[in-house]
């Protein structure tokens, strides 16, 4: 087992810690296990600190430029079936919650097709009440989806040798799930952008049926408080948040975020506290790293 191999496995786990479903997590743990790191595979957090270069993930495989469009799409879709199942469930939860918030099917469909990003849609639905601040929504989505910059960067080898217009078209349907599956496949057998896109199409279908089905169902529940459904939002986010905990290093940034969020929620209108707490907490992490580097 070379150091590079170890690094690439860890890098995959690192980028995937934003995942929202258990199946993605399972794919990653399987990857780690396959690579001979059984002792890491059971851990909630793969040792992310070892990460240096996300591109190591795929540096040992090649993109296949001349594979047929339909073969690639089909393979990608099949590989993503387990994740699509969990996308339906997860989308169903968001759908029911969205109905409580008064989000219409048209709004949900527009978010599904135009944006197509699970965690950001949760945040948007949470903010969805008049008067809606476009700026606050944009800022929140900016922060929640910033990680796509890293995900996009890590897909460079898959798109190697493909024209720009194809990159521009096929990148739209990249989410955590098909990204993780594509990375795993690329390492094993090599893959192509159509594989990624086929998985994305299947996930879009699954996500849409989940969210729209839940939205329809949720509008029939007249007293959400009675079943504590209003708390479901907090519970979903609490679960997601806990899955993002990487270890003691997160302690100070998270404490900073909590304090900033609670204070700014009292002082400012709307949902700005999410942006302020999020950026402020992450700044704590950045400053700690800055001071650490300066000391050396």
């Amino acid at each position: 087992m070379t150091a590079d191999r170890q690094r690439l496995v860890v890098a995959a786990g690192h980028l995937c810690r934003h995942e929202i479903t258990e199946s993605v997590s399972a794919v990653i743990h399987q990857m780690v296990y396959d690579a001979g790191f059984a002792r890491y595979a059971g851990h909630a957090w793969l040792p992310t600190r070892l990460l240096e270069n996300a591109e190591f993930i795929m540096s040992d495989s090649k993109s296949i430029p001349n594979v047929s469009f339909s073969t690639g799409m089909h393979r990608g879709a099949v590989a993503n079936i387990p994740l699509a199942v969990s996308a339906v469930t997860y989308g169903g939860v968001l759908g029911v919650l969205s109905a409580q918030k008064g989000v219409t099917w048209a709004e949900m469909s527009a978010m599904n097709v135009l944006m197509f990003a699970g965690s950001a849609q949760f945040v948007m639905v949470d903010m969805w009440q008049a008067p809606l601040s476009v700026m606050a929504v944009a800022m929140a989505v900016f922060i929640v989806n910033l990680r796509y910059l890293l995900i996009g960067a890590s897909l460079q080898p898959v798109f190697a040798g493909h024209p720009l217009w194809r990159k521009a078209l096929l990148m739209h349907l990249v989410v955590d799930e098909n990204w993780a599956v594509t990375i795993a496949e690329h390492r094993k057998n090599g893959t192509d952008p159509y594989f990624l896109f086929g998985g994305g199409l299947l996930l879009l279908g699954a996500w849409s049926s989940g969210t729209l089905g839940g939205n329809l169902l949720g509008s029939f529940i007249s007293q959400p408080e009675k079943y504590a459904l209003d708390f479901a939002f907090v519970a979903v986010f609490a679960a997601l948040t806990l899955s993002l905990w990487r270890g003691r290093g997160d302690g100070l940034p998270w404490a900073g975020a909590i304090v900033l969020a609670l204070v700014s929620e009292r002082l400012l209108p709307g949902k700005w506290y999410i942006v302020i707490g999020g950026v402020g907490g992450a700044l704590v992490a950045g400053v700690i790293e800055y001071l650490r580097l300066k000391k050396r």
Partner: protein
């Protein structure tokens, strides 16, 4: 008809969100070689998802009163025990449901 389908500023917010997300996806691919791999900026970017979510959860939990706080504690306990997201979520909802039923 269309006024019922979207709230005020809804379409604008969705389009803005969609453009931002797409720019990250495509931009990341184009900038692949230029993003920092180490250093404070990288640490900042890596810390963002966790801090944004905790900033969202805690004020909402506090707003749900003591039952909400107990619900979040239940989530914490179940997550530490099982590491399963759906189970964690249901345990939180069930806890708050039962607490409300009792009072």
């Amino acid at each position: 008809m269309s006024t019922d389908l979207f709230i005020d500023h809804g379409p604008a917010a969705i389009i803005a969100a969609a453009l931002i997300t797409y720019c990250f996806r495509f931009g990341g691919l184009l900038l692949a070689d230029r993003l920092p791999r180490t250093g404070p900026l990288r640490i900042f970017l890596d810390a963002l998802p966790g801090t944004i979510l905790i900033s969202l959860v805690v004020p909402s939990a506090v707003h749900s009163g003591w039952r909400g706080v107990v619900g979040v504690v239940a989530c914490l306990a179940v997550y530490m025990g099982t590491r399963r997201l759906l189970l964690t979520m249901f345990s939180g909802v069930l806890t708050v449901y039962l607490l409300r039923l009792m009072s």
